[in-house]
Amino acid sequence: MVFSVGGRMTGVAPTQGTLMTSFNDTRHLWALGACLAAVGLVGMAVRREMVPDDFGTKGPYRASALDDIAAQPSLFQADATCHACHESVEHERAGTSHEAVGCTHCHGLAVDHVSIARRGAEDPTVTLPPAAEWDGDFLTKTDLYISKDRATCLSCHQAVVGMPADFKKIDVAVHLEEQGASEPLSKETCFECHGGHDTAP
């Protein structure tokens, strides 16, 4: 029996030089070692397959993920984008209480408007489509709007518990009474007294 332990129990202590010969199960260890090496090699092959090539070059993550995330398009335009063409509006709004209110609040994202306008700067045959009809679906479409609907104004200014004390809160009924106006109101009723870009009454 090759697995026998007793096989090496000869009753005589082997000398230093005959250690290997007295140990007759070496090939099992070689088999064990081969198994371990095989497992290690398979593991390394799997790891090589699973771990992205650029993993760890910038930190413990897939480095190209940074570029993937940064490639997402920007939908919201800063006011500077609008003012690049609409300089007069910038001057009109400068110093007013609504200077910090983004153009998008009343005009929508206007992504299409901007991209068409940029093409139009190079190709004069490209013309801008007219502003779309406001439907109250604020900021969820990429068209350009011109909103004079009082709902737009009230989306910020309607008095709500929790607003800061110095914010201009409007309770429509009270405000109209103060101004001597009465129902029924038109959609554009705010603009009967207030301006658009400069909203002072």
């Binding site: 771990v51 709902a151 709500v160 929790g162 800061p164």
Partner: protein, 301 residues
């Protein structure tokens, strides 16, 4: 043959030597006590030493394989941040900060729509939200969420102003913790702390286990219904990389959200942070948030 007779179990060598009667002790040299016990121990000692020698050689040999170039995936076993110009200090990167001024928020909800549109967040989920804290005169404090249309568009019944002691809005978004718990728990390295310090989700690597959602003490992370993987506010990383402001900052009509570089002393956020007392949420957790608040009360967590 029983397992105990196999020589690959060195610690059992002595027991096997003594108990070989149960196996095939063909030589019969030493049965149970047939030979001197000292001799048997020495023999057993020698075979154990042989075993250890061979096993160690094989193990070291197998381990040395991993040192060979090209066998492993590279030097990325323990990735370290790339060194800076002198090879020691980390490279100088822009540092960003976010300041929420609760005294300016009007609860219009513009930031909520802006974030949803900019980042294609599915309906019913949000990367950012605005809480309203209403302190009543009778001591109660109630918290509700600002609807995406704002209260004006929602038609919700408002608390009676005469019962209210104080009320204010608190926008919430990712705190971008320097020591982020959500980052630490990701099992597949899909949680990324970008070189700029912004916490990101690698949606390609994320397996959707949701562990990070559990780990975030601020409840910022969620499982995106559309993609099935983790999603979170990333301060509009794609915009920041183009030197643009995050969408919610662009959308805020009152300047309650301020974003900028805190390594630039001339930026608006740096000036504000230097002059106005600010707090962070759940400071006791030691997560070191980069999102700071003006006007937090103890009720806000």
């Amino acid at each position: 043959m029983s397992l105990f007779e196999l020589p690959i179990l060195p610690t059992l060598g002595a027991a096997a030597a003594g108990g070989c009667a149960s196996g095939g002790c063909s030589s019969g040299g030493c049965g149970t006590g047939g030979c001197g016990s000292a001799q048997a121990e020495r023999t057993s000692e020698n075979s154990r030493r042989e075993f250890l020698k061979t096993a160690t050689t094989l193990t070291l040999g197998a381990m040395s394989l991993t040192l060979l170039p090209g066998v492993t995936a590279g030097d990325d076993m323990l990735p370290l941040p790339p060194p800076g110009g002198d090879g020691h200090a980390p490279a100088a990167k822009p540092m960003y900060g976010f300041l929420i001024d609760t005294t300016k928020c009007i609860g219009a909800g513009k930031c909520l729509t802006a974030c949803r549109v900019e980042n294609s967040v599915p309906e019913g989920q949000s990367r950012t939200w605005v809480e309203r804290y209403v302190h009543y005169k009778d001591g109660r404090v109630e918290v509700d969420l600002v609807p995406e249309t704002g209260y004006a568009g929602s038609g919700e019944v408002q608390p009676a102003a005469e019962d209210v002691l104080r009320a204010y809005f608190v926008p919430k978004l990712c705190n971008q913790c320097v020591d982020a718990p959500c980052n630490q728990v990701c099992p597949v390295h899909a949680s990324i702390k970008s070189p700029e310090g912004i916490e990101l989700v690698d949606t390609e690597r994320c397996i959707g286990c949701g562990y990070c959602v559990q780990a975030c003490p601020y409840g910022i992370r969620f499982m995106n219904h559309d993609t099935g993987v983790a999603d979170k506010c990333n301060w509009c990383y794609h915009r920041v990389m183009r030197n643009e402001q995050p969408a919610c900052v662009e959308a805020c009509p009152t300047g309650a959200r301020v974003f900028g570089r805190i390594d630039d002393p001339d930026s608006e956020i740096s000036r504000r942070l230097a002059t106005v007392p600010t707090n962070v949420l759940k400071q006791h957790l030691g997560t070191l948030p980069l999102t700071r608040y003006v006007g937090l009360t103890d009720e806000v967590t």
